[in-house]
Symmetry: C2
Subunit: 447 residues, 2 copies
């Protein structure tokens, strides 16, 4: 048995959690499943070992807490400032073992390391119950509940088996009408800090184990529809064709060109054509589009270019171009004081000079996007092999986990040093931004 508070312990616990899967051959653990319950049970035990008292909230999130002086503590004392560390415990289908789980287990190890240390705030660790949205299509359900943003419209969303979110709550032993109890009071919160694998290749390319996050990009998603005319593949010369797939293909290639030029990300992840027969010209093509950018303005400008390209191709080829926006999230800026604390922690753990600590934007979404509604957010990114995520090949090096553990611990201590007793005012207003943050971002930020 490895010691709690070490990288080896963290790696072993991430491995342990793979047992709680709905599939024998792969990792899949969705919201409100028996596996979710089993993972919460395992995490609860580790939290207790780390000196935290535990509670499953009204939305299935698992929480552990210690008071400022280090004692396990449930429930929270209202008005006591609290720093939350954590990530999520649910997965995509056929997932890797680090996306989400690494951040929860690292946070427990940090709490264990600090169990004898008095802090100017209570410390909590959370394992969010749903970030991926695999089961009900809506992402961030766990952190939306914790940040008081639960939308009653979600209750009737059903999973692939027709089970509604409301029914799943009941089966899990949760009371739907109590979900509001999971909401945290912003006045109690000092901030939310999350460690997560990068899910991209930037740190690896820079030969860096860690980076801090500047912004979590919000995606916009669209369904694009091209309507032409289904006709006999034999009988219709090109001059008479209004082929929806050829038009859509021109658009797909143009989307890539425009996104590269705009330094944003654009992905057509799915396409369907109708009627979809070998000898019939496609009359209709439906495509999904996912857009992300370092800034919302850049992302939105790209969308305007793509829409213009769609209209231009449609006019040229005699087809119709329509779109529907299915998702739109604003980007979430990490708070200056939390970026500074994480950057300080990375500097302490790696020996890097402040100007050499890398700030990255996150094209992927995270629980911080929801938690931003109730408190400041900061994130630590950990290098992952080849940038692979959402795949069983997801991999982090134990050495990087060790450095991450040191950096995450140091970040909490950096925050503690800067923390002054807070009233109900906005916590971010209480602390000046740390001096090195701006130059660091300017120097090091990449996407």
């Amino acid at each position: 048995m490895t010691d709690i508070g070490t990288a080896a312990w963290v790696m072993a616990r991430c491995a342990d959690l793979t047992r709680h899967s709905s599939r024998p051959d792969a990792l899949e653990r969705v919201y409100l499943s028996p596996e979710h319950s089993a993972a919460n049970t395992a995490v609860r035990a580790w939290m207790l070992d780390a000196g935290l008292d535990t509670e499953t909230d009204a939305a299935g999130n698992i929480w552990g807490r210690r008071s400022a002086d280090g004692a396990p503590q449930r429930p929270a004392t209202p008005g006591e400032p609290t720093l939350v560390l954590g990530s999520h415990l649910d997965t995509v289908p056929d997932a890797g073992r680090y996306d989400g789980m690494l951040g929860v287990v690292l946070a427990i190890a940090v709490a264990h390391r600090l169990r004898e240390v008095a802090l100017p705030f209570a410390l909590e660790v959370v394992g969010f119950s749903d970030e991926e949205g695999t089961r009900f299509g809506k992402a961030l359900l766990g952190s939306c509940a914790a940040s008081g943003q639960w939308d009653p419209a979600w209750w009737d969303q059903a999973d692939a088996d027709g089970v509604t979110l409301r029914e799943a709550f009941a089966r899990f032993g949760l009371a739907p009408d109590r979900v509001g109890d999971a909401a945290r009071d912003p006045a109690d919160l000092v901030g939310y800090l999350e460690a997560h694998i990068e899910q991209g290749p930037v740190l690896e390319a820079r030969n860096l184990p860690l980076g801090y996050v500047t912004t979590i990009a919000g995606a916009r998603r669209f369904v694009l529809t091209v309507t032409g005319e289904a006709r006999h593949a034999g009988g219709t010369p090109f001059a008479r064709r209004r082929d929806a797939l050829v038009a859509a293909s021109h658009l797909v290639t143009r989307i890539e060109e425009l996104a590269i030029a705009a330094d944003c990300l654009a992905t057509v992840g799915d396409i369907h054509v109708q009627p979809g027969a070998v000898n019939v010209i496609p009359g209709r093509a439906e495509l999904t589009l996912d857009l992300r950018g370092r800034t919302d303005a850049g992302r939105d400008a790209l969308w305007e270019q793509i829409a213009a390209a769609g209209r231009g191709i449609a006019a040229e080829r005699g087809v119709a171009f329509e779109f529907a926006e299915t998702h739109r999230a604003p980007s979430t800026a990490c708070a200056d004081r939390l970026k500074a604390a994480v950057a300080d922690g990375i500097g302490e753990a790696t020996g890097a000079a402040p100007g050499d600590v890398l700030g990255l934007w996150s094209p992927a979404g995270h629980d911080g996007m929801a938690m931003d509604a109730v408190t400041d957010v900061g994130m630590l990114f950990v290098r992952c092999r080849d940038g692979i995520s959402h795949h069983p090949d997801e991999h982090v090096e134990p050495e990087d986990v060790g450095v991450a553990l040191d950096a995450f611990t140091a970040a909490v201590l950096a925050l503690a040093r800067e923390h002054r007793p807070a009233g109900p005012a906005e916590p971010s207003a209480l602390v000046e931004p740390a001096a090195p943050v701006e130059p660091v971002e300017t120097l090091g930020e990449v996407r």
Copy 2:
């Protein structure tokens, strides 16, 4: 009641046949269905009215026959030369009412017009039972049986409900082990003549009601597979992507360019990507490709260009390109003497000078492709509105059907004039090509 042998009668019978459908709201009549049986029964009555004796053969094709001297006649006298007129009675899903049926009903009307006329050959009309291949995926089953090309491998092909061709034979009252009885003896056949809607816009564009067919193009069909890497849409910069759909889209646009330059037809009718999620870069794309050309050599040269383009795009974008050929049919050249007879018939019916009669190649497949194995083939194309086929909007003008009836009758009489009593030698060797055919093709041929 309109008179048999008139355009109005032909139009009314095509309308009658729409009653024999598996769907109340649309026309769908597939091989060996109850509707197939009902359509055969209706057609049998019309054949009897036209002075033909009838028989359903061992593959469900319905035949009518009169002897050279005009008497209804079953069975055929072995060794008696026979001219076959016809088309097919089955349909695609949600079909129009003319594709196939018009040719059968026109042939019956021609037989009625000639019922008092002695001919130098027996005259038969056939309604083929399966040309479209809708039910079992394999096209031309009816004419393959009649031309002795039945492949026992087809018996185990199943329809969408899992019913095999063998079981469907038995349910229809046919004996699978007797299917060979449907094969016609080449020595008895003078030729096969078919009237069919054009299924394309050429005649309409030229303001012509009719044209004769020079060649029935054989399609080649492929499944193309592009394999890249499925990765997180957020975490993967463009430089690291191997997006199977973007590569496939480049190929789709290139296929159109190459086909236009080669004066062939190429259609990507269907596409599927995996995993097919809004936030995952497609790791695999599978496309169908249908290729047709006026000549097999032109079509095959185009395929080589497309395959080279696929390999080039794959190399450029770091993906793999593979293909599998799923279908390959050679083109079928219509016989000179049958082209000449149909061209003569069109000239007589329309008053067009020989040089103004249009020869077209048929990008769509027809029963003549199978019948070519046992006898010479000729085809008459009838203008259809906007080139639409395989669709409920399929439409022909009654005036064009009237001219087609005159032309098809005249074509039979033209053949009769040229026919000399034949021994078992190849019929096409007995007749010199008619003089005007070559210039007509050279002048008028288009695609």
